[in-house]
């Protein structure tokens, strides 16, 4: 089994619930497995751990975290897992022999490469960016950012906090903020309360997962006792301040659209936005795996239900294959690992175990669907928030007004790719993760079921910026096809040699 010419039997990208579950199963089967993650400790965003050297009493209490924390401790104790933490994977290329993959990653000051017979991408998700006036001001962040600052760094991100969104993560965050003694000024849900609640009407879903609903009821009553107003059919419509958040304007949402009339000003210094999540599937797409459009935005890697993608030797698990939450991710991680073992002829998983996992996954999927129905806002809502001065591409400071002007000047530029080239939206260091969906919405979705030149930004290596220095220090040759077009090197803004700021093309 370990006689191949590959450095690894299996490489796992992402040390969250899916990656950990997969690594556990792979290592237990005797595979040489390495796990890559940008964070210094495993756990993913769900279990963002405190830094080494910090001692936190009662870290992440609550039943929802119990099983995940147990898996984390098991993974950390499991022998035979090669943890590659604090590394940034920037490309996956077919290995020379035609099977397996070469995985290129930045570790410290240089880029390195390891070959793996099989590659699992479990790179999770990130929060849906929601452009509205003032959303780029310091102090405005995603709910996930505010939550990870708290649970990992022990930092309350503001003295007077406003939460605005449509996703129930807001309630979890509010609960944790209150635990820490934070002052929350307001919690706004953009959807009407009837919709937030009636999606729970299905008794089957309720019976299979009563925990989350009870938790919602508990937190809502806790917020009420703490004097935190919770509003439905309302949202932050504008953030005000010159170089940081000073206040927000909160207004109503009617018929799925933010209405300007009768807004209220609320003084605050931190705002968390939370409207849903987009799969992080860039690496799998760069490697060549087929992706499909998600109903709420973003692209998920296509999977056969057991982690296999359209490419041999490439597997996906967790949110990369569609956002379903951490519990589903862990199940998918184990399923993908069992597929990898079976495809290598290394181990035939017990059919009963596989059946159990599929049953669990089906239950998680149903729950995720209910959550999605309860929390997803339509394109009309997101279109009603920004004005002409609102920044759509944070990296390149492109506004909605810029997009409008470009479209007036170039009536034939109707595709995401064309508008990107004309406006520079999507050409910055985040590589379009923060503006692709907004551009799609502006140009009118639905686009297509698969990402194309016209409906999506093309994903190319490096999928994360790599500095020239790091490339120069590479121990292994960089694949010829890594940088197809010189102009794509626009992503390499971070040249540390001299302060030569590149001019826009």
């Amino acid at each position: 089994m370990a006689s191949s010419s590959f450095d690894l039997d299996a490489a796992v990208v992402g040390a969250g619930p899916a990656g950990m579950a997969a690594a556990l199963a792979l290592a237990a089967a005797g595979q040489r497995v390495a796990v890559f993650d940008e964070q210094p400790r495993p756990g993913g965003q769900l279990l963002r751990q405190p830094p080494y050297g910090f001692e936190v009493a009662n870290w992440l209490p609550g039943r929802a975290y119990k099983e995940q924390k147990y898996r984390l401790r098991r993974a950390e104790a499991q022998a035979g897992i090669d943890w590659r933490l604090g590394t940034t994977v920037w490309g996956a290329f077919r290995h020379g022999s035609g099977a397996g993959f070469d995985l290129h990653f930045v570790a410290g000051e240089r880029t390195e490469c390891l070959s793996a017979r099989r590659l699992l991408i479990a790179s999770g998700c990130y929060e849906m960016p929601v452009p509205l006036p003032g959303w780029t001001l310091p102090g405005v962040m995603t709910a996930g950012a505010m939550q990870t600052l708290l649970k990992s760094q022990g930092l309350i991100a503001g003295d007077r906090i406003v939460l605005s969104g449509s996703h129930p993560l807001q309630l979890v965050l509010a609960d944790q903020l209150l635990d820490a003694g934070a002052k929350i000024e307001r919690v706004c849900f953009a959807q009407p309360w009837q919709r937030a609640l009636t999606t729970w009407r299905s008794p089957l879903t309720l019976l299979s997962r009563p925990g989350p609903l009870l938790e919602v009821v508990r937190i809502l009553s806790r917020l009420r006792r703490a004097g935190v107003p919770v509003q439905f059919s309302s949202c932050v419509q504008r953030v005000e301040g010159s170089d940081r958040v000073r206040s927000v304007r909160i207004g109503a949402v009617r018929n799925g659209v933010a209405v300007a009339a009768g807004t209220e000003t609320l003084s605050c210094d931190a705002v968390a936005l939370c409207f849903g999540f987009l799969p992080s599937s860039e690496l799998a797409r760069q490697a060549g795996a087929r992706a499909l459009a998600c109903a709420g935005g973003g692209w998920r890697s296509e999977s056969d239900g057991a982690g296999r993608t359209s490419l041999a030797d490439l597997y996906v698990a967790g949110e990369t294959a569609g956002v379903k939450g951490g519990d589903a991710a862990a199940v998918e991680g184990e399923l993908a690992a069992l597929s990898m073992l079976a495809d290598g002829g290394d181990l035939a998983a017990a059919p009963s175990r596989v059946a159990t996992l599929h049953r669990q996954l089906a239950r998680h999927r149903r729950f995720a669907q209910v959550l999605d129905e309860a929390s997803r806002m339509g394109d009309g809502f997101f279109g009603s928030l920004p004005d002409g001065k609102t920044i759509v591409c944070r990296c390149e400071d492109v506004t909605y007004g810029d997009l409008e002007a470009i479209r007036l000047d170039n009536p034939l530029a109707s595709t995401v790719g064309a508008v990107k080239r004309l406006s520079r939206a999507g050409m910055g260091v985040c590589q379009g993760r923060q503006c692709e969906l907004s551009l799609q919405r502006t140009l009118g979705r639905p686009c297509s079921s698969e990402p194309t030149m016209t409906s999506a930004y093309t994903v190319r290596a490096p999928v994360r910026p790599v500095s020239i220095d790091q490339l120069c220090e590479a121990r292994q040759p960089i694949p010829n096809n890594a940088f197809e077009l010189e102009r794509e090197l626009g992503a390499l803004r971070f040249t540390s040699k001299k302060d030569s700021h590149e001019k826009p093309l």
Partner: protein
């Protein structure tokens, strides 16, 4: 903006240098957390000089990019772009929030 103290035992505090100012911090915490804890929310400037801060805190948005002085293999000191939300505090760190030294 405040650090939670109840139930959290941090290592001995130290001082790092940001834009020439001394900022108290704890080894291992992220530079972003240390800056927020001392009230600095403007971590970087956008292409056209607009104020930016922590947005995603997970390495996706690059809005918290700061510059850390590092010694390269050839011994030369260089300012290296780093995401403050992923960058752990180390003793003796020197950082700046702008690529251009003249702003500091």
């Amino acid at each position: 903006m405040s650090r939670v103290t109840t139930g959290i035992q941090r290592p001995e505090s130290l001082v790092i240098e940001i834009d020439g100012c001394s900022v108290p911090a704890y080894e291992g915490e992220t530079v972003a957390a240390a800056m927020l804890a001392c009230g600095t929310v403007r971590l970087s400037d956008s292409r056209y000089g607009l104020a930016r801060g922590v947005y995603c805190n997970m390495g996706v948005c690059f809005e918290c990019t700061v510059w850390e002085q590092r010694v390269a293999a050839d011994g030369e000191r260089r300012w290296s772009a780093q995401r403050a939300c992923l960058l752990p505090v180390r003793p003796g760190m020197q950082l700046r929030t702008s690529r251009d030294a003249d702003r500091v």
